[in-house]
């Protein structure tokens, strides 16, 4: 255990824990956009930056990655910290003017729109938080989507923007997307469309509900060696 101070509060924390985790555990809220319990932090959105003092040196660090150490003094709301968060939100507002999540977070933190930034029209609601890509890779294990391009032209999608052979239409990317950028449509008639490809949905053996994509059940069967017939029952009928 190590002793640290966050916003003037003395806290005993477990060695190796991140500043963000410790702060949240003690009810100190640090805003984030790219953090999710299911995947490793990537430190991309920069909303969670905090100011730390260590050995007399003050610096801005990423709280979702930075690990606590004995004697660390953390300020989660210093002027410098708020400046970074304000800039990030103004930039994301300009990138994704349609995103409610970004707008609400900006409003909650009292950040005004920067009129000098011309709103983008082609980025949708994607803030490039990476959660979809990381979930697809590390949680689902299929890596159907990834990044292409770099800088401002970086975007998420299946390779070469073609139908992804690896996608199993599980919808995990949709689920983790914080801004509802990723579109998934269930036709209700046994079809699901995601990333531009339409998948067949399996009907429950018992109730007939189209409950999961066939590709996903086949993938589960392949990885668990449970015959696919045994998976053809929906959650409610199991």
């Amino acid at each position: 255990m190590v002793n640290i101070v966050i916003d003037g509060k003395n806290i005993e924390a477990e060695k190796g824990a991140t500043v963000l985790a410790v702060a949240r555990e003690h009810g100190i809220e640090i805003p984030t956009l790219c953090s999710h319990a299911s995947v490793d932090p990537s430190g991309g959105c920069r909303m969670c930056v905090v100011e730390v003092v260590k050995g007399g040196r003050t610096r801005i660090v990423t709280s979702c990655i930075y690990q606590v150490e004995d004697g660390l003094v953390v300020n989660t709301r210093s002027e410098r910290v708020l400046e970074v968060r304000r800039l990030v939100l103004q930039l994301l507002r300009a990138r994704c003017p349609e995103s409610d999540v970004v707008r609400e977070m900006a409003a909650a933190l009292g950040v005004e729109t920067q009129a000098r930034f011309r709103p983008d029209k082609d980025k949708g609601k994607c803030i490039l938080c990476r959660l979809c890509v990381k979930t697809c890779e590390a949680v689902v294990g299929v890596s159907a989507i990834g990044f292409s391009g770099r800088g401002k032209d970086k975007s998420v999608g299946p390779p070469f923007r073609e139908d992804s052979a690896a996608c199993i239409a599980c919808g995990a990317c949709v689920y983790v997307c914080p801004t509802e950028h990723i579109q998934m449509e269930d036709s209700g008639k046994g079809e699901r469309t995601i990333w531009g490809r339409t998948f067949r949905m399996a009907a429950c053996k018992v109730c007939g509900l189209h409950f999961a994509p066939v590709a996903q059940l086949e993938y589960i069967s392949r990885t668990t060696e449970v015959p696919v017939e045994n998976l053809m029952t929906c959650m409610s009928c199991r």
């Binding site: 430190g43 300009a94 000098r116 800088g151 401002k152």
Partner: protein
């Protein structure tokens, strides 16, 4: 190539190398680094080869790297036994017969060398070996010796010690000039701690930009937990206008390998990587050749110098992303992942490549190491100034007469580099500023011309040492346009992982474009400044963290130019097209008509020998009229 395991083997190789550095018959060397090839050295080399063959001359023809003064390439050196080595500048295939005739007839006037070398400086051994033995031949008295040439006078060559002198494909010549003796000394006579202490004592700071103490980094990596450790050479030089590392890898690849092997031995690594950008094909080829030679001689591989130490190196080619010069992005790229940096809260010396302790240094840093081991850290720290020891290689480019690579002791005044070594600004124009530290460095204005060039002074002036690009600008350079240029470069090179760099630098670019187009708004400068603070504090890696530097340093020193663009819609330097207007000076125009003929849109008219006029409605502001007018009659406002 026979195995080199002992001092005796080394001495034998050195003897072979000396025989080829000081041959008993005439030898001609062509500077064939990329800078030479770009100015036509391959044609000169081919012409020499053909002519020597056709005339049946008994002459050795070989290749060498770049001596540095790229402005006078292609450079051909002629070495006749016991005579000074003569360097012929701006050679062409047409001049080749003249050169060879001069050799056979001794006729001095047909073609004149630019300078001569009476002796060769063997830096590693700390001795001079004369080329000239006996009296100086009569015709050579008025040829200056290299040390008297302004470009070379104040230079001190440590990292570039062999460039332009040896054949980069000859390991024997490298050994003859003291190469690999430092490695032998390190593995045979020194403990890893002694090596590290010597490198610490040298004060050598990383030459890639960060300026961290090399010896301390080695020490941390040596003490890091883990059996498998790596050493890495960063050859992903990507700053616009910078080519120090390229020239070094091309001209003296063994110096980089030797530095790495010594480092690996000190740190306890058995595997090394050289990450070179694919746009450097000659550097890759020469490194590959050096690797194969070193392996064949047993200087890489198992049981180096019978010490029980094993080490080998792989070359990995980068696909051309600027950000891969950042150490964590480089390591991600080595792992086969996209070149994106990560936060460095856990240092790469603890967890780097494949999460193992990894020591990364830049090409130039590695190349300094063998000299430090040979001459001692104390000797090295005697060169340069306190806290910035040794020398630094700069590529001096832009509006400067002597374009080239220079190696100077740290702490040298900027003005010595610009005026003495660089020969000043072409066309009698005034010096305005110099950009150092690459795209994320800063601009140093003319009023700081006396600034000592070392890590800390550059930092205090709002710029940085960076890897060593030095882009010189004259009075006709618009500083807002320069800031826009560098920011635009960084926009296209940002990896896109974190928001402040990806979106913030992009928005700065938008604003700068607006300012240059006359669409700047009141408050733009203040907005750029406050965004800069957020980007510096908020970015994930050093690329974003230092990206605002060109904007901040130009605002700091050239604020009035920003104001002129924004408030008065004027570009004082006459560069930003939307804000300028070309005209013709009544007094100066002779009516020669050259500008009218050269104008691509035919917007200049006038009768012969009478005043001409520009139609501002049609003018596309290309500036060709201004460049072609011999009478300085074109004005810009």
């Amino acid at each position: 190539m026979s195995r080199i395991s002992t001092l005796k083997d080394m001495d034998r190789a050195a003897q072979r190398g000396l025989a080829s550095l000081f041959p008993k018959k005439t030898k001609i060397m062509v500077g064939m680094a990329t800078s030479g090839i770009a100015s036509g050295a391959q044609g000169v080399y081919d012409a020499l080869a053909a002519e020597i063959k056709a005339k049946g001359l008994d002459i050795i023809l070989s290749k060498t790297g770049s001596m540095g003064l790229d402005a006078i390439e292609p450079l051909v050196d002629v070495l006749e036994p016991n005579k000074p080595r003569l360097s012929y500048s701006k050679m062409t295939p047409k001049k080749v017969p003249l050169l060879l005739d001069r050799l056979s007839s001794g006729a001095a006037d047909a073609i004149k060398p630019a300078y001569r070398m009476d002796a060769d400086d063997f830096l590693v051994q700390g001795e001079k070996k004369p080329y000239l033995k006996g009296k100086l031949p009569a015709g050579l008295k008025d040829i200056p010796v290299i040390q008297d040439i302004d470009f070379y006078k104040k230079q001190v060559k440590i990292a570039l010690r062999n460039c332009g002198t040896i054949d980069p494909e000859s390991i024997d010549e490298y050994i003859a000039r003291g190469g690999y003796y430092s490695l032998l000394k390190a593995v045979a006579d020194m403990s890893p701690d002694e090596i590290i202490n010597d490198v610490i004592a040298s004060g050598l700071r990383g030459r890639g930009g960060g300026g961290f103490l090399v010896g301390r980094k080695w020490q941390s990596c040596r003490h890091a937990h883990g059996d498998v450790k790596y050493v890495i050479c960063n050859g992903d030089e990507g700053d616009p206008g910078a080519y120090m590392d390229r020239s070094l890898m091309e001209g003296d690849p063994h110096s980089v390998l030797e530095g790495m092997i010594i480092g690996a031995f000190a740190i306890g690594a058995h595997e090394g990587f050289i990450y070179v950008r694919n746009e450097y094909p000659l550097a890759v080829a020469n490194l590959q050749c050096a690797l194969e030679q070193a392996r064949a001689c047993g200087l890489l591989g198992k049981n180096i110098f019978n010490s029980g130490f094993d080490f080998d190196i792989k070359i990995v080619k980068g696909a051309g992303a600027f950000v891969c010069g950042e150490s964590t992005a480089l390591m991600a790229s080595l792992e086969g992942k996209a070149g994106e940096p990560r936060a460095k809260y856990i240092h790469t010396v603890e967890q780097g490549l494949w999460n193992r302790p990894s020591n990364l240094n830049n090409v130039e840093s590695w190349a300094n190491v063998p000299v430090i081991i040979a001459r001692g850290g104390k000797w090295f720290s005697g060169v340069g100034v306190r806290h910035s020891t040794g020398t630094k290689v700069f590529s001096l480019v832009g509006k400067i007469n002597n374009v080239g690579l220079v190696e100077v002791p740290m702490g040298i005044p900027l003005k010595d580099i610009i005026y003495d070594i660089g020969g000043g600004i072409p066309g009698g124009k005034a010096f305005k500023a110099v950009q150092t530290g690459g795209p994320s460095g800063g601009c140093i204005p003319d009023k700081l011309i006396d600034l000592p060039v070392d890590f800390d002074s550059l930092w205090e002036a709002g710029s940085m040492m960076g890897s060593g690009g030095m882009i010189v600008m004259d009075e006709r350079t618009c500083m807002v346009d320069i800031a826009r240029y560098f920011i635009e470069f960084l926009v296209s090179e940002s990896c896109g992982k974190c928001v402040p760099c990806r979106e913030g630098v992009y928005r700065m670019n938008e604003i700068l474009h607006d300012i240059c187009r006359g669409k700047g708004k009141k408050g733009d400068v203040e907005l750029l400044e406050s965004m800069s603070k957020g980007i510096q504090d908020g970015s994930l890696c050093a690329l974003g963290g230092s990206a605002p530097n060109p904007v901040l340093s130009t605002i700091r020193y050239f604020r009035e130019e920003y104001d002129a663009h924004i408030r008065h819609k004027r570009c004082p330097a006459g560069v930003c097209r939307a804000l300028i207007r070309y005209g013709i000076d009544k007094e100066k125009c002779t009516g020669c008509g050259v500008c009218a003929r050269k104008c691509p849109v035919a917007c200049i008219s006038g009768e012969k020998k009478k005043l001409h006029a520009i139609d501002p409605g049609k003018c596309i502001k290309c500036g060709i009229c201004m460049e072609t007018c011999k009478f300085d009659a074109i004005t810009v406002e």
